[in-house]
Every structure is written in C-alpha cells, then in structure tokens.
C-alpha cells in the first residue's frame, strides 16, 4: 500500500544534495581559492607607534592573541556594569595612529571585518597625520623608524 523504500531513496537523494551544499561548497571554495591564490601572502606589516609609547595596556604577546577578548570584557563592564576605567576603546587611537595600517591590515589578511568603528570614532588618516606632524612622532614599521608616513596623508 505504501512504498516506503521509494520514499527513502528520494529522501537520501535530497539529503545527499543538502550535504553537498552544506559541506562540499565551503570546502571546495577554500580549495579553489587556495589553488588560485598565488604565492602565500607575507605576514602583514603593521605600523607600530612611535618609540616613546613603549607600553601597551598589556604585554604585546597577550594583546596579539587576546585583544578582542579584552575589548569585549571591557565593553561588558562599561555597558552593563557602569565600571569605566582608563582602558577603553578610545585609548587605542592615542598610540596607534593608523587604523588602516594597524588594525585593518591584520584583520583583512585573516578575513575578519569587525564593525567597532562604525559607531566608535577612530580619527581619519589625515587628522592623525596632522597630529603627528605637530607632536613630531614617527610611525614605526616593525621597529624601524621611517621618515615618510605611509598612507597617512590621505593622498
């Protein structure tokens, strides 16, 4: 009266199709993009702040791995508990002049696009360049001092 087997066959077909969509497409995508990506990208060069800003709020290794967790914890404290300290998202911009050269360069290379600065202010490159010209700070590329400020003048 009721052909179970036939239904099952079709169900398997649909399930297989869904599996292809869900599993194979992302895998395939990453394989293909890897094949055609060309030589591996070098590690992103980050623009470091001037030498006189030696200390970040935590040591470098910690910040490299966990800065987002730190920011999230601080966010939770400030927004939900009203505990405001010296460390906040506006503090980053005091030393790291260029979001383009610091945050985004690393985020882009790992395909991450956090949207913090859609709402929080991060100065425009030209604005920062102005500030640096005034104070005489230099941007540093991996410890080397460079005279020209890359990407900062907004030209």
């Amino acid at each position: 009266m009721f052909d179970l087997n036939k239904i099952k066959e079709k169900a398997y077909l649909i399930a297989a199709l869904a599996a292809v969509v869900v599993i194979l497409i992302p895998i395939g995508y990453s394989i293909v993009t890897n094949l055609f990506a060309g030589p591996p990208q070098p590690r992103p060069f980050l623009e470091m702040p001037d030498e006189k800003y030696k200390e970040c709020v935590r040591e470098t290794e910690f910040m490299r791995q966990h800065h987002w967790e730190l920011l999230r914890t601080i966010r939770e404290e400030v927004v939900r508990y009203g505990k405001r300290t010296d460390i906040n998202i506006n503090k980053c911009r005091e030393c790291h002049v260029s979001r383009e050269g610091f945050c985004n360069r690393c985020h882009n290379s790992v395909n991450l696009y956090p949207d913090c600065f859609g709402c929080h202010y991060y100065p425009e490159p030209s604005e920062m360049a102005e500030k640096m010209r005034k104070s005489g700070d230099k941007a540093i590329l991996f410890g080397q001092s460079i005279e020209r400020l890359p990407d900062l003048s907004g030209e």
Partner: protein, 246 residues
C-alpha cells in the same frame, strides 16, 4: 554498517557536536581576566527633577546639548528623527483657556521598566543604579520596547547619523533602539549630564539630576520639599523623573 545506522550515528554526532559548540560559546564568553567587579554605583538610585516654573519658554539649550553630546540623529525628518529629550507644548483638554505650557519629555527611567521586561535579548536593562540603558551591541532591533514604552520615550534608529558631534562618544548603527541614558557615561565619571550642564550655563538650573537614595542630595531635598508630579503614575511603572509645576 548499514546505511541506516550510519545516518543515525552521523546525525547523533552532529547534534552532540552542535551542543558542544554551543556550550563552548558560553565558556569562552566568560571574562578572561576576572575583571568584572561589582558596580561602583551600587546603592545609588539616580533620578531627575525638572522645575517647569523656572524653565524659559522657547529655550532648547538642553535639547541641543543632549543631541550633540550623544550623537543623536536629527536630520530634520519627523518620521525618523530621534529625540532623547524633547520639548512639547501642552494644553488642557477640558479647559484650553488656561493657556499653554512647555514640558520636557524624556525617558523616565522607570523603576519597573516595561521596555526592559519585553526585550527578548536583555539588551534593554536596568542598571544597579536605576538607569535604564540599551546595550547597542546586543539589540536585535525588534522594536518591541518602542511599543511597550507608555511614554513614547524610546525611538528606533531607522537611519544612522552621518556626522560625529562628540567624538569621544559612540554613535549607533541603524537598526537599534535607543533612549535617554541619563548620560550614564558622564554620571559614572561624576560629571553632571549634558542637559543639566547646559541648563546651568543658560543660568536657569531647572534640571537637577542626583541620587534619590541619598537624603542629603539636592534632588532628595527638592522631592521632599516641593510638590512633585510624575507621569502616568497609575501605570505602576514608578518613573524617576519628577516634575515641579506640571
């Protein structure tokens, strides 16, 4: 292995895996430094007194100060403009001959806030010190709180603001709800809210914000000594904005 069994095992593993992933999210979401301490302002209960008898007709200093301080969108379109603080003219329904009066309307920071009750993600919540705030990192934009607020105090970011008025304070993206925060970011640093400061600068001092729990504070004395009214007290929301001379 039969196909049936395989599917059962695979499905089971998948379900268990997703449960683990879910649990993992919870674990990683906990704070890393153990930094969260108890709220600094616990024990306080912020409230506001607006003395309408002092308020200058036509003056909008506080409104402008609020909008500039908090980067509130005001593009000039009535439908989508946001007003954390607004000045309205009222008239008695039964006896209009009494004359018109100007009143400031804002979020009342209800002690039993219906807006926080209905928020599905606890984005709107009451702080320990009684300030009702929206966590814009969490709000999903369902607009249920806009509907639940009986004072029309809550508004929704249909558009986002283009300009930065106050660069130390964030704006909001479009798609989240917001209302007056009693300038919590300033109160936490023991500064008066922007509207209070603006009102003082005009020379009026009609708006007072302070701790209702502290009997020696200016606001407690005002509430104690003057005839204060609150809006829609019959609803039981227990608003904390008091009006003198309403």
């Amino acid at each position: 292995m039969e196909r049936r069994d395989f599917i059962k095992i695979a499905g089971g593993t998948f379900l268990a895996g997703s449960a683990c992933a879910y649990a993992f999210r919870f674990l990683t979401a906990s704070n890393i430094d153990g930094l969260i301490v108890e709220n600094l302002t616990t024990g306080r209960k912020y409230g506001m007194v607006i003395d309408l008898t002092k308020c200058i007709p036509g003056c909008t200093a506080c409104v402008e100060a609020c909008h500039n301080e908090n980067n509130v969108i005001h593009s000039g379109d009535k439908r989508w403009d946001i007003h954390w603080l607004r000045k309205v003219t009222i008239e008695n329904k039964l006896s209009p001959e009494v004359g018109k009066k100007e009143v400031l309307l804002l979020c009342n920071h209800c002690d039993k806030p219906p807006c926080a009750q209905v928020c599905p993600v606890q984005a709107t919540y009451k702080r320990h010190d009684g300030i009702v705030i929206v966590d814009h990192h969490r709000c999903i934009g369902c607009r249920y709180c806009v509907i639940a607020c009986p004072y029309n105090a809550r508004m929704f970011n249909f558009k986002s603001e283009e300009e930065w008025h106050n660069k130390d304070h964030p704006k909001r993206s479009h798609g989240v709800a917001e209302a007056c925060t009693l300038c919590a970011h300033r109160l936490d640093k023991d500064q008066p809210p922007a509207c209070v400061e603006a009102c003082r600068n005009v020379g009026t001092g009609a708006i007072v914000v302070g701790d209702l729990n502290d009997p020696r504070s200016e606001i407690s004395k005002l509430v104690e000594s003057r005839a204060v009214k609150r809006l829609k007290e019959d609803l039981g929301t227990d608003p904390k904005v008091h009006y003198i001379g309403l």
